[in-house]
Symmetry: C2
Subunit: 221 residues, 2 copies
């Protein structure tokens, strides 16, 4: 009955391809961070208020869309200033580290970033290895070099940073990261406020680590 009821037939908006593409990637980050990479392209399209085939106009396959999500999360959210900051020897190392972690956690300790990180890690491929190596080279190694300088030890170019130093710092970096996991993945927010936790971690690190490195590199003089 009631054939007179007319469906609104809402006209669709035509966006410049660049805009639409960006819009899709951003929605995909949010969507996949919720449902994982097995989330359906139809669900994503619904959320965008768009039909599903449209996604395939911008990305030849779902895998390609996922690649774009990786780029958005891992690359475009990485801040070059971080490495600069770590190297600023006019500031005490303690301050640099605290400032760095406050900035870094403001990007990384966020459900979207965290969940995409975990999902992509479990998916395998090469993203895993790439990211861990990247962090090791751009953050951990950097910090170890600063500790060397602080303790008057030979620079990395003279005596390469050892595996023990890297892994020694991983203990703290991983410990800080796990705070973010508890908060954003396991939804059991730690009761210690993040800034205080960071300070605590850094102080704990600076208290023992430099001495340990010093005695492990006895050939320095």
């Amino acid at each position: 009955m009631s054939a007179a009821v007319e469906t609104p037939k809402k006209a669709f908006r035509r966006l410049p391809p660049a805009d639409r593409k960006k819009q899709i990637v951003e929605a995909a980050v949010a969507y996949f961070s919720e449902f994982g990479f097995e989330g359906a392209t139809r669900g994503l399209a619904d959320r965008l208020g768009v039909t599903q085939p449209l996604i395939y106009r911008y990305f030849p396959s779902k895998d390609e869309l996922i690649r774009a999500v990786y780029e958005e999360v891992y690359l475009s959210r990485w801040r070059g200033e971080w490495m600069q900051l770590l190297g600023r020897r006019d500031l005490p190392l303690r301050e640099r580290l605290i400032a760095f972690y406050e900035s870094w956690t403001s990007v990384v300790f966020e459900p979207q970033w965290m969940r995409i990180y975990m999902f992509s890690g479990l998916r395998g491929l090469d993203i895993n290895r790439w990211w861990i190596t990247f962090v090791e080279d751009h953050l951990l190694r950097r910090v170890c070099e600063e500790v060397r300088a602080l303790s008057g030890l030979p620079s990395a170019s003279e005596t390469p940073i050892t595996a023990a130093e890297i892994d020694g710092y991983w203990l703290f970096h991983g410990g800080i990261f796990y705070y973010g996991m508890r908060e954003n993945i396991y939804a059991v927010p730690p009761r210690t406020p993040l800034p205080r936790f960071i300070e605590m971690a850094i102080d704990s690190f600076l208290q023992g680590f430099p001495e340990a490195v010093k005695s492990a590199l006895p050939q320095a003089d």
Copy 2:
């Protein structure tokens, strides 16, 4: 053509229900740890050399099977001795902690356990909160109590363990756990052997933590 070729028609084996059920759960742990919980029941059945509907004779739904996997991984692999070991005050705390982590990592630092842990964490439900709280109550709180005893501080029954103490130890526990993630999820095996890493972590912990607690609980005398 060649209609004479007879399919071998291999006879199937009839197992006692308890055996078959156990077999299915164990295969499910392995299977889901590889593909995640969205792995298909048909794939699991193939791997078992069995047809897919058989799984539904033993588990009313896939969700129920997943619940059984949780139990297998989280409950049946937990060792009661761990808590006992941590409380053995006839041994130095350092030795207890090292022994505990060597035993604990032998169970947890394994692709199956680790990946199920991550997958279940991302799935949500209540497993997350339950596990984190469980670890906090059975391991971390325990360690904090031992540190109290070691430092001659008031026991937990007199002065409850504080959030700062728990989170302070999370830094180290999380840092150790992250070693397992690098190894088993991200497939970038750390170059420091695990036993050495554990020792390093414990020493680093014992060096600063007890003093920090002492000065944070000034009302003790």
